[in-house]
């Protein structure tokens, strides 16, 4: 196995990018994870998707590419991120041992930077000088604008008009970083509509432009590429857990919107059958109200944004608008690999309501001095419930996928601060 050596030591290998069949769960040649995934896109985009897939295949087997990615992760993104044990928070979780993977400490404040740096390098290899991206909470947009600034790429970010309003700080950050932010006023004015608009841009400008997809959804090869670039989260966490506790955790918890932070931490544990994988979707105001983003929990199999997966849809296949207090989880689709993990039973998915997430948000701040993103707070709320079920003997690893600075506006309103 080829290893990449940097002055700081050894971090990334081709296997860390899940390539070369090492994990035996890459999608097939058509991008299918079982019945999920594939490509449902206008024919005009097929050559571009083929080009991205072929270039990625070359890149992930290219030591020079791996070395450059590794270098950026260490010296720019701030990897490896640490684990933090949170005993005061754990007291509220039935006394379970709760350990956080601190993706909130990366540059730009969320795990999104991992994927973005990988894809920005890929963009340069593709010979393109313009990137476009969709964003919900704004974290992927900020990360993309950051990487574009770093590498001298033109950057256009599509963001639902509703999300622009609730994440105004991130809009300002993107602008400061030199990106053009285009508010999308169609449909629900949230993430799904931003994705539609980004696809429209891509099909028009595909010669010069890479669509820097932000989650593990979309047409093949995006679910695979984004997973591989996010996979470093779990690779590090698995090793760090062994160092810290001498054992693997009993469970790994992560929030699921599109699903990139969850797959990022789950993937390295998939073959560890004794490690339970728990994904937490946004339950919004509750399943019974219809105002939620419980795609895996309450959706049905369909096609959205180029991929067969679970979708919130009516009986005639019209997408149902999702709701969540967290813009990053407010999405009526989900990555096809999660659909596959759900159906195979390897991972379990649950709902966490707005109220439960906000309670966990405040609890972590007060007990540990860490303000989490509201997205990540769904995983924290899940860990609270799980810890109470499993008891004080349990060790639970939680992906703290981002920090909550961007959410202070929402928190001020919610808690009357």
């Amino acid at each position: 196995m080829r290893q990449v050596t940097s002055t700081e030591g050894t971090l990334l290998t081709a296997a860390d990018l899940a390539g070369n069949g090492v994990h035996g769960d890459d999608p097939d040649v058509h991008g299918k994870f079982g019945i999920f995934g594939g490509r449902y896109v206008p024919e005009a985009l097929i050559p571009a998707l083929d080009e991205v897939a072929a270039e990625y295949e070359r890149a992930r087997n290219d030591v020079a590419f791996l070395r450059e990615f590794d270098h950026l992760l260490r010296t720019y993104a701030g990897r490896p991120t640490t684990l933090t044990e949170v005993p005061r928070f754990g007291e509220q979780a039935g006394g379970a041992r709760i350990i956080l993977k601190r993706e909130d400490l990366t540059h730009t404040g969320a795990h999104k930077i991992n994927n973005v740096l990988g894809q920005a390098l890929l963009t340069k290899r593709l010979g393109k000088d313009r990137v476009i991206a969709e964003t919900g909470a704004g974290q992927h947009g900020v990360a993309t604008a950051t990487a574009a600034a770093l590498m001298g790429l033109e950057c256009v970010i599509y963001m639902g008009a509703v999300d622009c309003e609730r994440q105004a700080l991130n809009v300002a950050r993107m602008k400061l970083l030199g990106a053009t932010v285009v508010p999308v006023h169609n449909g629900s004015k949230t993430l799904k509509d931003a994705i539609n608009e980004a696809f429209r841009d891509w099909v028009t400008n595909v010669d010069t432009t890479h669509y820097l997809f932000g989650t593990i959804a979309g047409p093949h090869p995006f679910p695979e590429i984004v997973r591989d670039f996010a996979r470093i989260i779990g690779v590090e966490a698995r090793r760090q857990m062994l160092e810290l506790t001498g054992a693997l955790p009993d469970a790994v918890c992560a929030a699921v919107g599109g699903g990139s932070n969850a797959i990022g931490i789950f993937h390295a544990f998939i073959e560890d059958k004794d490690v339970a994988l728990h994904g937490y979707e946004a339950g919004g105001r509750g399943l019974e109200t219809g105002e939620h983003a419980l795609t895996l929990t309450a959706g049905s199999v369909g096609v959205l944004h180029g991929s067969r997966t679970y979708v919130l849809q009516d009986e005639e296949g019209q997408t149902i608008e999702s709701h969540s207090i967290s813009a990053g989880l407010d999405y009526p689709g989900v990555g096809p690999e999660h659909a596959w993990l759900k159906d195979s039973g390897r991972a379990t998915y649950h709902g966490v309501t707005d109220a439960e997430a906000m309670e966990a948000f405040a609890l972590l701040a007060r007990t540990e001095g860490i303000i989490p993103a509201i997205e990540s707070s769904h995983a924290l709320a899940g860990a609270l419930k799980l810890g109470r079920e499993l008891g004080p003997e349990a060790t639970i690893l939680v992906n703290l996928s981002g920090r909550g600075d961007k959410d202070m506006g929402t928190a001020m309103k919610y808690f009357n601060l």
Partner: protein, 264 residues
């Protein structure tokens, strides 16, 4: 020959290209769509594509997005789409449904093919269904006796063009440009080359859509393609009209201009 192929053969015998018009069901209203499509036929459209309004039309430009949004707001459902097809098919025009894949997937491929055929529809155009994923739909369509139409694009390799054309039975839809639907100042120069490259791989008619909106453009495209597809320009006339009657008059006027174009 299928109904659709007969239409193209007849146009060819007349020494002209066929005129294909697109309109979403439920736009401007459920009944208004039938009236407008009927006006399009009366003005000279040989083939009508009835759009199935979908919540996430990611290959459509602002005009069709607007029309589709209005149709969905009107409460347009698949039963209305089928009723629209039935109404338009009665005029004698070959009537297809153009739809993103998910509504068919959810409704059930066999059921949709059967219900469409029963309504008098002659086929479908499915712009986001790739050859790789189309097996189920082609089988269901063949069993119901309706045609399948898929798209090729200027970016398509010869290998892809062949794969797409092999899946088509009615005609091949050549997207004239890299972009979303909507009328343009001029028809992309890529269209002619794409039609020529497509003909290498199929004997089926090749129709050009995306960006065609005037009689002059229709005449230009008719010079090298078997059919000229116009959608957004018809919708624009309806959107811009102060009331339904003047909308219909504007549709007739554009239809006549385009019909003259394909005969020029």
């Amino acid at each position: 020959m299928t109904t659709l192929q007969t239409v193209f053969a007849k146009a060819k015998a007349d020494g002209r290209a066929a005129l294909v018009g697109y309109l979403p069901a439920g736009f401007p209203t459920k009944d208004g769509a039938i009236a407008a499509a009927t006006a399009m036929v009366e003005a000279g459209c040989d083939v009508i594509e009835i759009g199935l309004p979908y919540s996430d039309p990611l290959m459509d430009g602002p005009t069709i997005q607007d029309a589709v949004h209005r149709a969905l707001t009107n409460g347009t459902r698949i039963a209305d789409v089928l009723r629209t097809v039935e109404g338009v098919a009665k005029t004698g025009a070959a009537t297809l449904v153009m739809t993103y894949w998910n509504p068919i997937d959810r409704y059930g491929a066999e059921r949709f093919a059967r219900d469409l055929a029963a309504a008098g529809g002659v086929g479908t155009i499915t712009p986001d269904l790739t050859p790789e994923e189309s097996g189920l739909w082609r089988q269901a369509s063949a069993e119901a006796g309706i045609d399948t139409v898929f798209l090729v694009a200027p970016s398509s390799t010869d290998e892809r063009i062949k794969a797409v054309a092999d899946c088509c039975t009615g005609f091949v839809y050549a997207a004239s440009l890299m972009g979303v639907t909507g009328a343009r100042e001029s028809v992309s120069s890529a269209a002619r080359g794409l039609v020529e490259r497509t003909r290498v791989h199929t004997d089926l008619p090749v129709c050009v859509g995306l960006g065609v909106g005037t009689g002059k453009q229709a005449a230009e495209v008719a010079g090298y393609a078997d059919g000229v597809i116009v959608g957004s320009a018809f919708i624009r006339r309806i959107l811009d009209a102060p009331d339904e009657a003047s909308g219909l008059a504007a549709v007739r006027e554009l239809g006549a201009e385009l019909a003259a174009g394909v005969r020029a």
